[in-house]
């Protein structure tokens, strides 16, 4: 050995610093202790956030990654520490969130012996990661981390897991960090073919009723401006998916609303009336398509998509523009004719008016006694900043908040889309807030989901992240109850909750708290929440048995979207 050699554990930390990782969200334990020991000397260069559960760590890393566009870093020990990351990995994979997770592993001579806290985390995490690896030698640590960051952030982003045995952490090795820029078996950015662009442009130019659907790919590909320029020139109406929300401002004249099971009336219904469907950075999730056999059959589909495996997966495309959608959109904008589609957009506006009359009015300005989730969001809109970030959990509150929150800029929407992970919001909001303490981060959450990761109130307390938690409490697992009401003959099987005194719990965690159950107090309470400069917990007791509409029932077609 020579004097310049350092322990593998320190190589881990130095590699993370070399990748400009700002935070590590993690939880220590036996097999990762050497790395935590090394971390002790680097506290001025990298901040570790000690969550209260590894699931909280990974969701916080996801929240951070989603708003910052940076790779979220997460750390856990072997065995249960590592298995507690699995939900977050699956969530990040399906929602294309860049993460690097580092787990400790038992010493290599113990592998396969059922040693204390040994689990085959590489095996378990395989279907939930874009790439994973076990490192058993100190010299392989830095290259694995370099490769992991490259894979996590490039192409279609995703989570990576690097499992490092304890002996690799304690062995001495040289540190020479070489960032990974290329892997011969991995082509993250397929080249956009000009002749395909020509074909797409010609279809668009001939279309009478073209329609753009955009997804998170626009945000991940930093294609927001390119999309806006394309819409400005082509005059085509555009609707967003759940995760694409905010990619362009909802105030854009061509923006017609949201897609999916609880999206807007017109955007769903008119999917089956357009003649050319231009899907940008979205993957035709079943929550968007409804019954795929009756989805946009009349339309020629143009699919702008980075991941070749998404092309023709559920919806067959006439023209597949594989590649970076920012480049594709820029090229398409050059080729499309300048047009407007006033009559076609008017069809959306008419249905929007109908939705407003039948649904939105009652949601936002109800006349009945019970508070609605919608009116809470209405008041949030009244006081929030334009760049406020909304983090939601999963369920009715998620759909209502998404429907009514006024998104004005990109990366302001953080939610668990593909996986639908209850418990996501509270830790994700913490991660989102840590990206920028000065941005408003509003965590809208239900009484079911918050109790899945409740303990992260402690992490918020410790970090003093000024997260505004808005608990919409209906004492029910509301979305499941809604399905039971509509499709299971009101047999409310295990959906009603006897809840604790949430306010007392939040108070115990040093949150400033307020509880509202009367309409008269709501506006003032929301206003006060935004004035407070620390963590805030607002519980709003809402109507017990409200439903979210519009709705495309499972197995129905988009044109069967119902308003009540």
């Amino acid at each position: 050995m020579n004097d310049s050699q350092i322990r593998g554990a320190e190589i881990v930390i130095k590699s993370l610093v070399a990748e400009n990782a700002r935070y590590i969200f993690g939880y220590p334990g036996g097999a990762i202790m050497p790395v935590y020991d090394a971390l002790y000397d680097y506290m001025d260069r990298i901040l570790h956030i000690l969550t209260r559960h590894e699931q909280g760590a990974i969701h916080a890393a996801q929240g951070y990654a989603r708003v910052s566009g940076q790779v979220g870093v997460c750390m856990a020990t072997s065995g249960p520490g590592a298995t507690n990351l699995i939900t977050g990995l699956a969530d990040a994979l399906i929602d294309s969130t860049p993460l690097v997770c580092i787990t400790g592993q038992v010493a290599s001579h113990l592998l396969g012996t059922d040693a204390f806290q040994e689990t085959d985390v590489v095996g378990i995490s395989m279907p939930g990661t874009k790439w994973n690896i076990q490192v058993r030698r100190v010299e392989d640590i830095a290259p694995a981390i370099a490769k992991g960051f490259h894979i996590a952030r490039s192409g279609r982003p995703g989570p990576v897991l690097i499992d490092i045995t304890k002996d690799a952490q304690t062995s001495l090795g040289d540190f020479n960090y070489v960032p990974c820029l290329n892997i011969r078996s991995y082509r993250p950015y397929p080249k956009v073919e000009d002749h395909i662009i020509e074909k797409a442009a010609s279809l668009i130019n001939q279309a009478r009723k073209p329609y753009v659907l955009f997804g998170q790919g626009v945000i991940l590909g930093k294609a927001e401006k390119a999309l806006q320029a394309f819409l400005d020139k082509s005059g085509i109406p555009a609707a967003c998916t759940l995760l694409g929300t905010g990619a362009i401002s909802e105030e854009h004249p061509n923006f017609v609303g949201k897609l999916g099971m609880h999206g807007n009336y017109g955007p769903n219904l008119l999917t089956n009336q357009c003649d050319v469907l231009i899907a940008v950075g979205m993957r035709f999730d079943d929550r968007v398509t409804g019954d795929v056999k009756r989805y946009a059959k009349q339309a020629k589909v143009i699919h702008l998509e980075l991941d070749p495996a998404e092309v023709d997966k559920t919806v067959k495309s006439e023209v597949a523009v594989v590649g970076d959608c920012r480049i594709s959109l820029e090229k398409l904008t050059e080729k499309v004719e300048k047009k407007t589609h006033p009559d076609w957009i008017k069809e959306f506006r008419e249905l929007e008016a109908e939705e407003k009359r039948v649904v939105v009015g009652n949601d936002l300005s109800p006349t009945k006694v019970g508070l609605t989730m919608g009116e809470v969001i209405r008041h949030i809109n009244e006081f929030k900043a334009d760049d406020a970030i909304l983090v939601t959990d999963v369920g009715q509150h998620q759909m209502v908040a998404w429907r009514y929150f006024e998104y004005k800029t990109s990366r302001t929407q953080v939610t668990s889309g593909g996986l639908g992970t209850m418990g996501f919001a509270l830790p994700a909001a913490l991660g989102a807030q840590l990206h920028d303490y000065n941005r408003q981060v509003i965590c809208v959450v239900g009484d079911g989901g918050i109790q899945m990761t409740f303990q992260e109130l402690g992490t918020i307390m410790q970090t003093k992240a000024p997260v505004k938690v808005v608990l919409l409490n209906n004492n029910f697992l509301g979305m499941v109850r809604q399905w039971q009401q509509l499709f299971f003959d009101k047999r409310y099987s295990f959906t009603e909750l006897d809840n604790p005194d949430f306010i007392k719990i939040a108070e115990a965690y040093n949150f400033k708290v307020q509880k509202v159950d009367e309409r008269a107090d709501l506006r003032q309470a929301v206003a006060e929440m935004f004035v407070h400069d620390g963590p805030y917990f607002l519980e709003v007791v809402v109507e017990k048995e409200d439903n979210v509409f519009p709705m495309i029932a499972s197995g129905s077609s988009v044109e069967e979207v119902r308003l009540s």
Partner: protein, 166 residues
């Protein structure tokens, strides 16, 4: 309509790559009919040959999903008529079953005895599955103690090579 397809996968030599590939089939509930792996012409690059019976839409998806694996260099799929392929089969026959009839069977099927031990002989035959199966049926009269058939090895008829993807 379901057909028999052969997927040819070129991969880096990376621990876990076989698991990652087979997970793609497991997740979709697709049975793998044959699976072989060995080093390819290029040093360090492995070639995996997978045989499945499925629809064209599904085989396209499977191939894309395999290709999406970071350490997979390229995956191709072919119908039987687009490939030249072989399988190898070994048959273990007790020594006391040997008579003039066995010699005839071996000649007729282009098989050969590759090992003769005190108690048994091992017959080897290469060919398509139907051919090795046919020999198995015939040899049953001679009391087959053990039988094993390999997965398919196959080369494609199209003149594309892996070099251009490196």
């Amino acid at each position: 309509m379901n057909k028999k397809y052969t997927i040819s996968v070129f991969t880096e030599n990376f621990i876990g790559i076989l698991s990652r590939i087979t997970l793609i089939f497991t997740r979709r509930g697709i049975n793998i009919d044959g699976f072989t792996a060995s080093e390819s012409r290029e040093e360090g690059i492995y070639r995996i040959t997978i045989v499945v019976t499925t629809s064209e839409a599904q085989i396209i998806q499977l191939t894309k999903q395999i290709e999406k694996i970071i350490d997979v260099i390229k995956a191709f799929y072919y119908l039987d008529e687009e490939m030249v392929f072989q399988e190898i089969a070994l048959y273990k026959i007790p020594i006391d079953s040997i008579d003039a009839g066995l010699e005839k069977v071996i000649r007729q099927h282009n098989a050969r005895i590759i090992s003769a031990e005190k108690d048994f002989v091992v017959i080897e035959m290469t060919g398509h599955k139907e051919e090795t199966q046919e020999l198995l049926e015939v040899l049953k009269d001679f009391n087959v103690l053990e039988f094993v058939r390999s997965g398919r090895v196959a080369v494609a008829k199209p003149m594309e090579t892996i070099d251009k993807y490196l």
